[in-house]
Symmetry: C2
Subunit: 220 residues, 2 copies
């Protein structure tokens, strides 16, 4: 992966990152209740920092909170997955459009180089880099949009939920070469400063990705 410049400052930061990771990885099981006192003793911090962490998790849509009742880890469902990919399609399509407009030539060149290296690795059989490469690619497009709203909603929010679906539904899977071709075409459109095409290709890419996951979900 690239720059994961999320270094915790306060204690609430650290517990937030821990909790988020435990939820995404399934250590804290999907759908279960989050007891503040329990987590407080488990993570060895006060209830105040647990509360703040939970609030932040709620803004990522990783937990749902009800007043005077408590918070539960979000439940994964086919409908939830569909809704998630609907907004991904809209936001990342726009991100690709804006990336074609605002990315510098250097950034584009770097992204092309990245694709080359990933392609070589995959051709060499290292399927391990597949997901990391995909994540990296999408990160660069989103940050290349230079739009702070897009960046925060996607990177701080939706992507963690996407990863949660991937991890917990066992989506280490294939779709390697075809996805790489799609990435290549998107980057080409961006390099040509073709906003329209970049958006269309990105939306199609995400639609394919959704269909792929749905198919697996159905077979499982």
């Amino acid at each position: 992966m690239t720059l994961n410049n999320e270094q915790p400052i306060t204690s609430a930061d650290k517990t937030f990152y821990q909790l988020r990771n435990d939820i995404v990885e399934g250590v804290i099981v999907s759908g279960c209740k989050l007891s503040e006192t329990e987590l407080s003793t488990k993570y060895e911090v006060s209830r105040a920092v647990i509360r703040e962490a939970i609030n932040r998790l709620a803004t990522c849509h990783l937990v749902e909170r009800k007043a005077n009742v408590g918070a539960r880890v979000v439940a994964l469902s086919p409908e939830g997955l569909v809704q998630l990919y609907q907004v991904r399609e809209a936001l990342e399509g726009m991100a690709a459009r804006l990336a074609a407009r605002y990315m510098s030539d250097e950034e584009i060149a770097a992204m092309q180089g990245l694709l080359d290296s990933h392609f070589n690795k995959v051709k060499g059989g290292e399927s391990y880099y597949q997901e990391a490469g995909d994540v990296d690619f999408h990160y660069r497009i989103v940050t290349g949009s230079k739009n702070s709203h897009l960046i925060s909603v996607l990177i701080d929010g939706l992507y963690h939920l996407v990863r949660m679906y991937r991890v917990q539904l066992g989506m280490a899977g294939p779709r390697v070469t075809t996805a790489f071709d799609e990435h290549r075409h998107i980057v080409n459109a961006i390099a040509n400063r073709d906003e329209e095409l970049a958006e269309i290709l990105m939306r199609r890419h995400i639609l394919y990705s959704k269909n792929n996951i749905e198919k697996k979900l159905h077979n499982a």
Copy 2:
């Protein structure tokens, strides 16, 4: 306006709504620092609820928070406005598409009736209802998408920032009749279940709206 079913439960809820309103309306001036102790005495609640309220405001992008430093009200800028409308275009375009897919016939009929009543009011010279009507229209489309992510990001988040720009830059302004025509065309596309057209028209509608505001911003 329609159903603003945001009724405060806890004290933190109430403070959050108050603070949000004061920021949007400009009572708390854009760009200034938010002192926790100060707000605590001013709103007559403990610092804990002020902190929670500020955290929630941060998730709406109405304030920006730095660890160990504090929170500031977001600064309004032309670039910020452009970025805001870029994501509006993406999200509301998708919302219109999904509304064409998922809204019930009854909901669509109700929306058509609403447009009629608004049209009569505007034709009668009651320009007061213009913005409320616009807000109402967009709310219905977004909720009609049945997509919880779209709903929360737009209604709980971006729309407040949109209103902040409108209020503080004095955008009570016109664009009445043309906007109504655009609304009408969008609803027609939704009634015809034409997803593609609904999305295109909504994106164009928001683009026009952005250009209109930008023009005013430039003249001011």
